[in-house]
Symmetry: C2
């Protein structure tokens, strides 16, 4: 195990300590155990609050997307584990500015359970809640069962679009509609080259022989759709993009946002090789890359690998991508 850690038991709490120490102008703790974090300026009166959450180990995933024009709060679980409903409720109360709260999170059993419980608890306290469950991972279920898919890096676009809508003062219904549209317009496929080691377990979550890759892998090491010898960057991009674009079925001439995301250990250089081919495929298909995002947006600790996300744009979504957003982690895309 090649990890720079102290005690696996306190891994997450130490990271939160460090974040609060490094970025006090950005986030504050909403509860005593510090597992509910919110924008330093929360609550924003009259604005919809957006609460996300999930397991730790995906940085900048989840807590990195709390910020201006992004989410208002986050509930922070242990590594790859859902936060509790109480932690979600604490985040909810702390971001509630009287205009309702939107829950946005990935489609995983524990998260669904706990966010649903928190929603009931918040209702009982008189806070309007709406929920959008993110389902952008093409590999995790066939198109006929798209609602069963897992949520992965497409969350970046859901947070960005919903966050911009909330920041400008849209209603809860509107923010939820926009967030659901962003999710519905996103498709992601990943490839893993090495497993993740959980700090507490100290051993890999799965095995993948050197020189092999797993196409369609999830951000917790969930099995993909194909395992085989490692292919070239172009070949990997071809495989991922073909499934993404077939599933998305964007009309000719459509404008797309393209996100090439590193899962943790893969160098930025290699992400740009995937970007290069993915952008070519999009052009060859008569589509346009209107926005480019390349870097680590949603990771899986030290997993080597990457994912590609495509979001089909319209004028409404493009305006929301263009709106200001800021956190110490969010890396703006580049408009073509």
């Amino acid at each position: 195990m090649k990890k720079i850690i102290n005690n696996p038991e306190t891994f997450v709490d130490e990271i939160i300590d460090a974040l609060l120490l490094a970025h006090p102008k950005w986030i504050k703790a909403a509860n005593a155990d510090k597992r509910a974090l919110v924008r330093a300026d929360a609550p924003k009166q009259g604005r919809v609050g957006i609460v996300t959450g999930g397991g730790s180990g995906h940085m900048p995933g989840f807590l990195g997307y709390v910020g201006e024009g992004l989410c208002g709060g986050v509930a922070v679980g242990n590594v790859f584990s859902s936060p509790s409903s109480e932690q979600i409720l604490e985040a909810t109360k702390a971001v509630n500015g009287g205009a309702g709260v939107l829950y946005v999170y990935g489609n995983y059993g524990g998260d669904v359970l706990n966010f649903d419980l928190a929603s009931d608890l918040a209702d009982a306290e008189g806070i309007d809640i709406k929920t959008v469950v993110l389902t952008d991972d093409v590999a995790s279920a066939p198109k006929e069962r798209a609602a069963d898919r897992r949520g992965v890096a497409g969350m970046v676009f859901a947070f960005k679009c919903a966050g911009a809508a909330a920041e400008r003062g849209d209603s809860l219904d509107e923010v939820a509609r926009i967030c659901a549209k962003a999710n519905a317009n996103c498709r992601t496929m990943g490839v893993g080259l090495s497993p993740t080691i959980l700090p507490a377990a100290g051993k890999p979550t799965f095995t993948l022989p050197d020189g092999e890759m797993e196409i369609g892998i999830g951000i917790h090491g969930e099995p993909g759709t194909h395992r085989g010898a490692l292919q070239s960057a172009d070949s990997i991009a071809d495989t991922l993009m073909r499934q993404i674009l077939d599933d998305l079925a964007a009309p000719k001439g459509a404008r797309l946002a393209l996100l090439v995301n590193g899962l943790g250990a893969t160098p930025l250089e290699e992400l740009y090789l995937l970007y290069r081919r993915a952008a070519k495929i999009i052009g060859d298909d008569g589509l346009t890359v209107a926005w480019s995002y390349v870097g680590e947006y949603v990771t899986s600790l030290e997993m080597a690998g990457a994912s590609i996300t495509v979001m089909l744009l319209d004028d409404e979504l493009e305006a929301l991508l263009d709106a200001p957003a800021h956190s110490p982690f969010f890396r703006e895309g580049t408009r073509a």
Copy 2:
């Protein structure tokens, strides 16, 4: 080898293709082989141009720091190899706005040779050149021979401060003085947990048994000062910070910028654990963390590990850190 690449021979050129494709509003090629890249708005008339350069494999190192309030141009070498003097000269000519050009790069033999050659060539073309060679790596030579030290992640502060000075219209002498001060005020120490594999070689640059670490390692895998069993995050931070702070000898009450930099494969979570302890040590020493930077700033392909950089601040340097800067890669620090 777990690399997402195509042909090792075209690795760097494909990355540059991708960058030009993804970020055309940011950079443009200054020469036919595209190994000299400059700001899209270069040359800035009446402003000092700043040219950096070095080997590839350090992204966002070098080419990621071309941008507003940063460098004006970069010469891009092969992986871990110096760019040629011709490539440096092409970048020089393309950023020359008539106010002279500052060369800023790390202290490595090939880079020194080629930048010096380029300086002579630029002189012959009537372009005033000044040079600051970066030497922030404490581990690479003792304090008595500080000028022999290698340049590592401290380059981020040198680029930021010099870039801000150039952007506001300072003279070549002033920009060079500020850059030299930023470098003189920086100290960096790294730790490596796994080697880097060069795409062309296909095998590790050095071996490091699982469960071991190398303190003081360079960003090309240069040997460090100590190899031994992997220690805890706190213990590693203690070791790195003690050498940094002893060497820096900052006066009590001094304000510091603290950069915890990932070398490639180490998760952001682990960098924050190092940050947490480093910030505590600084506080315990009666010093203040005034600016915080955590993330991947200068990498070594897929090396697992991190470095810590401290810059001693004064009012002049703080104002320059505070000035606007933008590239698709530069991640602003957080002011305490």
